[in-house]
């Protein structure tokens, strides 16, 4: 048996063992399953630190060192570090200077909100509204689909309209529309559930196939 085959066999054995330990959850919560959970979390965190160090901390530190003779560039490089340092007072117990951390956090949230609002309006809201009112073609099925789409949007939105008294005539109209919208929502949730079911069955199949393939490999 070659070296590569041995490595493949051992790595496969580890993977199969971990998979079976995860499946042991079927018998109830047990230490073996929890061990695999902790192993996964620990590996993820350790790997995340390695990525952050190699891709963020180290390159930016080296960039500062190379810009030592360039004051303007150096200042720009130091701004992120300065903002990061302002977060540190939150670590100490007395919190007297913790207000300093509000500055970078405010910048972070402000930029994030601006990006989200701008992106949502241009990238989601306008295209979705435009797509909800499609031009109907000559195909009857397409016409029915377009009408159903508009109807579904209206009745589903009416389900979330709560500010009209049901005693009024318009309130009763909204109430009836909301009932239909509720069924649209239920059908949509059914689609979500079906999608999730397919995903998990595929994952189960893939893991079982992996185990069977690994077991079959030594047998040829």
């Amino acid at each position: 048996m070659s070296g590569d085959a041995v490595v493949t066999l051992i790595s496969g054995l580890i993977a199969v063992s971990l998979t079976l330990l995860v499946f042991s959850r079927l018998l109830g919560d047990n230490p073996a399953f929890r061990m695999v959970q902790y192993l996964f979390v620990g590996l993820s965190l350790g790997y995340a630190f390695v990525v952050v160090y190699h891709q963020i901390l180290r390159p930016n530190t080296l960039a500062i060192l190379t810009d030592l003779n360039n004051p303007s560039g150096l200042m720009l490089r130091l701004v992120p570090w300065f903002l990061a340092l302002l977060l540190l007072p939150r670590l100490f117990g007395r919190q007297k200077l913790s207000w300093l951390a509000n500055i970078p956090l405010a910048i972070l949230f402000g930029v994030g909100t601006a990006l989200a609002v701008g992106g949502t309006i241009v990238g989601t809201l306008v295209p979705q509204v435009l797509d909800s009112i499609r031009p109907t073609g000559s195909d009857p099925v397409q016409v029915i689909g377009s009408v159903l789409l508009v109807l579904g949007v209206v009745v589903t939105l009416s389900y979330f309209y709560f500010t009209l008294a049901p005693t009024t005539r318009s309130g009763q109209l909204i109430r009836g529309s909301a009932r239909v919208g509720r069924w649209f929502l239920i059908v949509a949730f059914g689609f979500f559930l079906a999608g999730g079911l397919l995903t998990y069955l595929t994952a189960l199949n893939e893991r079982l196939e992996f185990i069977v393939t690994w077991l079959r490999a030594p047998l040829g």
Binding site: F23, L26, L27, S44, Y47, A48, V51, V52, H54, Q55, I56, P59, L62, V111, G112, L115, A116, G119, T120, V122, G123, T124, P127, Q128, D131, A188, F191, F192, A194, G195, G196, L197, L198, T199, Y200, L201, T202, A203, L204, N205, E206, R207, L208, E209, V212
Partner: protein, 509 residues
């Protein structure tokens, strides 16, 4: 100055008081009195006469006349007083009220003498009163107890330390305080109940009845049995592929999949595709086949690639692509590495939406540092062989390919990247779980998608060289899993209905 005051000035210097006052102090004298005003004269006369002579009081102000007449002689003059003052001076003091008041003053004096505030405290010797100085407690405690307003109101009986009704100590005929009320029968009953509750101890705790030990089937549970059956059935189907043969069929290929296949086939070695790894390993069962199906087409055409990720796990998964690319000759010429010739691995870009926005605004700027820190903006991926830039903006890309495991990834890429280059085709590879949520974006123009294992199989089916038997086996296995799951779901529901304890009669809820 009035005349009577001038006379005063004329008095001898040794006299400090006015003459009329001196007269008053010394002895009755008519001369000085005559100089005083009429109303003062009357007063002086009344004072000096000592009751011997009734002075006419017509010159005195009416209110003073009334005050003078304390013996009831002027009762007919009350008409000049305010109504609330009439007869006030004539009211005789009631002996019935005077007696408790006298008792009260006695009690106060006794309380002062019997100051026991520091009694019992360990005081220094100089603060301790001697035995002689120590006040002797009064023999009659009744006045002291009368000071306690609670006891006077009859709420607390200090002797018995219990809630009780004590008759007011005010004697008969005196006015009762307005707060004293007789308790109703209900209040008496409640008080008796409270007293009995306080007096009676807690009842002995009754040990709950021992639950019946669960049976073997109950300990295992229906759910575990159903899960086990599902796993065993899938294992059997994998070991014996013939089990799924009836369910093996061709994968339905939608027109969109065909269109995507044509688009992928049309890419050449001069085109650049931006590939984003935004998925985590838990979705590898679906995204690995999708990745393999698409990358197979791209690698076959030697399309240039830029690999990037804003997800930490996605970065790790993108590294897995390096070895297959090298084996396919990417950045590799007979074992000699040629960095940046066919692909650039940018690695992790922190910031989420912010990183995507930077990518959309300045793609070439992002190429200045790959995952090793090397400047990839001078590579053949970013430049043509003649040195002119091949990639400056997103519009220079032939396609954007996003491997996403959540609908939020689709939203971010659509909002931050696709809106910056709406003419560039963007393709999403998704798990089945995320597809319904991302559906609104997937209907937009220039947006393609493949979802789940079926999507990968459908794309593979469009390739003439694909292994149809493998595709059919995979389709059959997945269909078999769905059928078994549905059968178990229905069976489990029936078992659950049969074993569910019945509702008590009359419970309509």
């Amino acid at each position: 100055m009035p005349a009577w005051l001038e006379d005063v000035d004329a008095e001898p210097a040794d006299s400090a008081a006015p003459a009329w006052l001196q007269t008053k102090d010394e002895a009755p004298g008519k001369a000085s009195v005559d100089d005083a005003p009429a109303w003062l004269r009357d007063e002086t006369s009344a004072t000096t006469s000592a009751g011997g002579r009734a002075v006419p009081s017509s010159d005195v102000p009416p209110w003073l006349q009334d005050e003078e007449d304390e013996t009831g002689l002027s009762s007919d003059k009350d008409a000049n007083l305010a109504p609330w003052l009439r007869g006030l001076g004539n009211e005789p003091e009631s002996p019935q009220i005077a007696e408790p008041l006298a008792n009260l003053s006695t009690a106060e004096s006794a309380s002062d003498a019997d100051d026991t505030f520091l009694e019992g405290a360990e005081l220094p010797r100089w603060l301790n009163p001697s035995e002689a100085e120590r006040p002797v407690p009064t023999s009659d405690p009744v006045p002291a107890t009368q000071l306690d307003w609670l006891k006077r109101l009859g709420i607390v009986d200090s002797d018995s330390d219990s809630v009780n009704i004590v008759e007011p100590i005010l004697e008969q005929g005196t006015r009762r305080p307005p707060t004293v009320r007789k308790r109703s029968e209900q209040q008496h009953t409640d008080m008796a109940l409270l007293a009995s509750i306080v007096a009676s101890p807690y009842p002995e705790p009754v040990a709950p009845a021992e639950p019946l030990p669960p049976t073997r089937w109950q300990r295992i549970g229906v759910e575990r049995i159903l899960y086990s059956i599902l796993v065993i059935a899938l294992l059997v189907a994998l070991i014996i592929p013939g089990v799924t043969a009836p369910l093996q069929s061709e994968v339905p290929i939608s027109p969109e999949v065909v269109e995507l296949g044509i688009l992928l086939d049309s890419l050449g070695d001069e085109d650049v595709v931006l590939v984003a790894y935004e998925w985590a390993a838990q979705r590898s069962a679906e995204l690995r086949p999708l990745e393999a199906a698409v990358m197979q087409r791209l690698v076959a055409n030697r399309t240039k690639l830029i690999l990037v990720s804003t997800d930490l796990q996605g970065t790790l998964l993108s590294f897995d692509l390096i070895e297959p690319l090298r084996e396919a000759g990417y950045n590799n010429e007979n074992g000699i590495p040629l960095g940046g010739r066919d692909y650039v691995l940018l690695g992790y870009r922190p910031g989420g939406d912010l990183a995507l926005r930077q990518l959309a605004q300045d793609l070439r700027g992002q190429l200045k540092s790959d995952f090793d820190g090397n400047d990839a903006s001078q590579s053949l991926v970013a430049n043509n062989p003649d040195g002119t830039p091949r990639i400056s903006t997103l519009d220079d890309l032939a396609m954007i390919l996003v491997l996403a495991d959540e609908a939020q990834d689709v939203q971010s890429w659509m909002e931050q990247v696709h809106r910056a280059a709406p003419e560039v085709p963007i393709t999403f590879l998704l798990p089945n779980e995320a597809q319904p949520l991302a559906q609104p974006y997937l209907r937009l123009p220039n947006v393609y998608h493949l979802a789940g294992q079926q999507g990968a199989l459908a794309l593979l089916s469009t390739d003439a060289d694909s292994d149809s038997a493998t595709i059919a086996a995979a389709t059959g296995q997945l269909s078999f899993a769905v059928v078994v799951f549905l059968v178990l779901l229905v069976g489990g529901s029936l078992i659950s209905l049969r074993t569910r304890p019945g509702r008590p009669k009359g419970d309509d809820s």
